[in-house]
């Protein structure tokens, strides 16, 4: 029912694309990250909580339609529904059913609860499309809960020595789940513009993420013992260097490896990811009951080989034309 084309994953029967990277008529978007939600589509379908993000990032005037989780939509005989992917707020797996054949496109997902987004729900299917960003047994992540604890401890420690703390995290998704778990009793929270923009959008829709935007004319010299949340881009610009007495940490699954930690040249690396680690991937694949697994970006060849060999699944590597740079897919 689904094919992999140079525009993206395509369902001919329904004439829809999922997370396409070239302009098409009808695009179903799993979530708002830039490697999944691209501009130029005639019409977008996504989860209700992703809709405001698409408008923020792609323009107010785009044509969109949204669904709740588990709500269905029929398109030329194909039943389409969205299911929680647990990746970020509003992230969805796309289920498509036609004449009894069921496909699930999981987009980006994780099983480990982040305490903010709707937890992943396994959807039974015949064909399952999975990413493999951390598809090697070296990636086994601690619980998000314990990492939030370490982050607060680190902040507390820095603050007690008079230092500011800066967390580098993806502006959409990870920043919010971190902000949701910061202990506001420790000190003030400041935000990079990219994070503040996303927060404002969510806060207009019933959320209440803390933090004050650091405007260009703000006097930063007086900031002390505070937490600053910023995206990766802030590291390479002078933006981050304007804060007095600062310690920096990166929050990413890649921080599992010493080499990546050292290369990032910050004071700390927190292993916090919105993707599946090795154990979660295996658990998810088995939970779908699918016989046919399509493995996309990450360690696709290796992971497909493992699935075929260990679980005797019909697993194949899908060469995505688009290999995102590491920074875009933490």
């Amino acid at each position: 029912m689904l094919t992999f084309t140079d525009k993206g994953i395509y369902c001919k029967q329904a004439d829809v694309y999922i997370d396409p990277w070239k302009p098409v008529k009808f695009a179903i978007i799993t979530h708002g990250h830039s490697d999944h939600a691209r501009s130029g589509m005639k019409h977008y379908l996504c989860h209700k909580e992703t809709e405001p993000i698409l408008r923020l990032r792609l323009g107010k005037d785009i044509s969109t339609q949204s669904l709740e989780y588990n709500q269905t939509l029929n398109k030329n005989g194909v039943t389409i529904s969205l299911h929680p992917a647990g990746h970020i707020l509003g992230s969805a797996q796309i289920r498509l059913e036609y004449k009894g054949e069921i496909w699930v496109v999981s987009g980006d997902y994780k099983l480990m609860p982040d305490g903010l987004s709707s937890p992943f729900e396994a959807v039974k299917c015949h064909h399952f499309i999975t990413e493999s960003t951390f598809g090697l047994p070296i990636y086994r992540f601690p619980t998000a809960e314990s990492v939030y604890g370490s982050i607060n401890n680190w902040w507390q420690e820095n603050a007690s020595e008079g230092y500011n703390s800066m967390l580098i995290a993806y502006s959409l998704g990870k920043s919010q789940s971190i902000l949701h778990h910061l202990d506001q009793g420790i000190g003030n929270i400041f935000l990079h513009g990219a994070v503040a923009n996303v927060n404002n959008t969510y806060n207009e829709h019933g959320y209440n993420f803390p933090g004050v935007w650091v405007s260009p004319d703000m006097n930063r010299k007086s900031i002390k013992g505070a937490m600053i949340v910023a995206p990766n881009s802030a590291l390479s610009t002078s933006w981050s260097s304007k804060f007095p007495l600062l310690r920096k940490a990166v929050c990413s699954g890649w921080m599992q490896l010493r080499g990546a930690r050292r290369r990032s040249a910050v004071d700390r690396g927190f292993v916090l990811s919105d993707h599946c680690d090795w154990n979660q991937l295996n658990e998810a694949v088995l939970a779908t009951g699918a016989e046919n697994i399509y493995v996309t970006h990450g360690y696709q060849a290796t992971y497909a080989k493992w699935l075929s060999e260990r679980y005797h699944l019909n697993a194949v590597e899908v060469k995505t034309q688009f290999e995102p740079a590491i920074n875009d897919m933490d």
Binding site: I138, S236, Q256, G259, A265, E309
Partner: protein, 530 residues
């Protein structure tokens, strides 16, 4: 072992020198007394003997983690570090052990003589009673690659702070070979222990590369300027009619240099000379490589003594008649050195001449053409400078000539080892040999993170073939490769071997046709050896 693991984690987590020293001092303050000397030994780079084969470690891990060996190997490749890869893949910890660092090292020593089954049982037992961080440290001890972002200099500073002694005194005590099983903190560092170690050299004073205009150094008359020769930095020590030759790497090389044996008769007792040991024939230096082949051999046949005779070009006198001269100004030390060499002439001991320049412009010009004078640049030393310890700014500078450069075509790429997982960062470059591209250099460093990302993306889309982890790519990009030296090498396809090649820039302005040729490389050798 918990404290030591905590220390390793702490120094690994920070890039800041002060925080590393702080962590070391805290460790010394808290660790078990018997552990400390072992920690010092490990941290300054002494390796325990490897008790098991790494292939066994790999098999045991794969078995425990219930992974096929191929998957273990691919994962290990991504991590780039065996100790870390194993620590990450082992199943969760089951219980806790109470072994100290010393006991852990003793366990490793004991392992060596045990049959493989026993080794396996003990190592697995240790693994399963440790957390990931501790497993990593334990594996590092087993595999003997303990380079953990702590330099000898850092350990010295931390010990000095902890013991409230001078760093120079600590550095001196740590020179040479010593056995942590025969020493303790008392015997190594108490003031009484500073006595009879007559074979020990002084800690070397090392220069930074000058990164500024020499004019900013002030009046040229304040400086002693010498050729920077390309050899082995060493100290010759004559005390109690015995001679010791030490390299800067603190290896005792006396046996490698029979040329100097006679000095124990001719030089007065209590003499320490600092200089550069180089191959020398017919009144001029030979290429460094000549000596390298000789140093690498266990026994030096007379043939090599003849082909690559060595001399020391002496440039400093650190001890005279048993008196430590290091605090005296350089000018005075050099005068004493000259007198010594004049009164005790030896054909294997030459004086590094102070060169006569009347302006910094003249110095600059000489440096540009340094290779024509068989040297790799200049040493600039303040005439009033004492002989300091370790690498320091201010009084001594090395001013190397610009590296040689060649434009090469990117031909192969390989993902980086232990750097960023899944990213191509190791490259092989080629030059033209007729209409063929022949590889001549591998280089890792030199590009910015942004350039690495762009190139990585391009490589993934322009792969021609995969050979294991290596990909061949479409010849399209030209890079300028810089290096310090070049020599003929029949083992390499290009016919040359380079010293310290690295990428100096991405020549986006050049097409592959404009890259250099094999004959260009051979010509460079001629110029260098002229």
């Amino acid at each position: 072992m918990k404290e030591f693991t905590k220390l390793v984690t702490a120094v690994d987590q920070t890039t800041k020198t002060n925080q590393k020293i702080q962590a070391l001092v805290e460790y010394f303050a808290q660790a078990k007394e018997e552990d400390k000397i072992f920690a010092v030994s490990i941290l300054i780079g002494n390796k325990p003997k490897r008790p098991v084969k790494t292939s066994e470690l790999r098999e045991w891990t794969a078995e425990l983690a219930d992974l096929p060996l191929w998957l273990f190997e691919e994962s290990y490749y991504t991590v780039g570090d065996l100790a870390e890869a194993i620590a990450l893949m082992l199943p969760p910890q089951q219980n806790e052990h109470q072994l100290t660092l010393k006991e852990t090292l003793e366990l490793l020593v004991r392992l060596s003589d045990l049959p493989s089954v026993e080794k396996k049982k003990l190592i697995i037992g240790y693994w399963m009673s440790s957390d990931t961080a501790e497993r990593f440290v334990f594996n590092k001890l087993i595999t003997g690659n303990f380079r953990m972002g702590v330099s000898r200099q850092l350990v010295i500073k931390a010990l000095a702070k902890y013991l409230k002694q001078e760093p120079t005194a600590i550095a001196h005590q740590l020179m040479g070979k010593w056995n942590p099983y025969e020493e303790n903190m008392e015997s190594m560092f108490s003031t009484e222990s500073h006595l009879d170690k007559s074979y020990l050299p002084y800690p070397f004073f090392l220069a930074y590369q000058l990164d500024d205009q020499p004019a900013n150094l002030g009046a040229i008359t304040d400086w002693c300027i010498e050729k920077k020769l390309d050899g082995i930095r060493g100290q010759i020590i004559v005390r109690n009619k015995e001679i010791f030759v030490w390299s800067r790497g603190e290896e005792l090389l006396t046996d490698k240099f029979p040329e100097f044996t006679s000095l124990q008769q001719t030089l007065p007792s209590g003499t320490v000379i600092d200089g550069e040991i180089i191959p020398w024939k017919d009144g001029k230096p030979l290429p460094f490589q000549v000596m390298q082949t000789r140093i690498g051999r266990k026994n030096i046949a007379p043939k090599y003594l003849k082909e690559a005779p060595l001399v020391m070009v002496a440039f400093d006198l650190l001890e005279r008649q048993g008196e430590d001269l290091r605090q005296k100004p350089l000018e005075e030390r050099r005068d004493l050195l000259k007198q010594l060499l004049a009164s005790h002439p030896d054909e294997n001991l030459l004086l590094s001449e102070a060169m006569d320049f009347s302006s910094w412009e003249e110095v600059s010009k000489f440096r540009e053409n340094a290779r024509e004078f068989q040297c790799e640049g200049l040493m600039l030393k303040r005439k009033t400078s004492p002989y300091e310890t370790g690498r320091r700014r201010g009084n001594w500078w090395k001013w190397k000539t610009d590296p040689m450069t060649v434009d090469g075509v990117l031909l192969y790429a390989q993902s980086g080892h232990g750097r960023r997982a899944n990213l191509f960062t190791d490259y092989t470059f080629a030059v033209w040999d007729g209409d063929l591209l022949v590889p001549f250099a591998k280089a890792y460093s030199g590009l910015t993170d942004k350039e690495i990302n762009v190139l990585d993306n391009w490589i993934k889309r322009n792969t021609l073939e995969k050979f294991g982890p290596v990909r061949s790519v479409k010849p399209e990009f030209v890079f300028e490769i810089a290096f310090e030296g070049i020599n003929a090498s029949p083992r390499h396809k290009s016919g040359v071997a380079l010293r310290f090649p690295r990428i100096s820039r991405w020549r986006k302005d050049k097409s592959i046709q404009a890259a250099n040729t094999k004959s260009d490389l051979l010509q460079l050798i001629d110029v260098q050896n002229s």
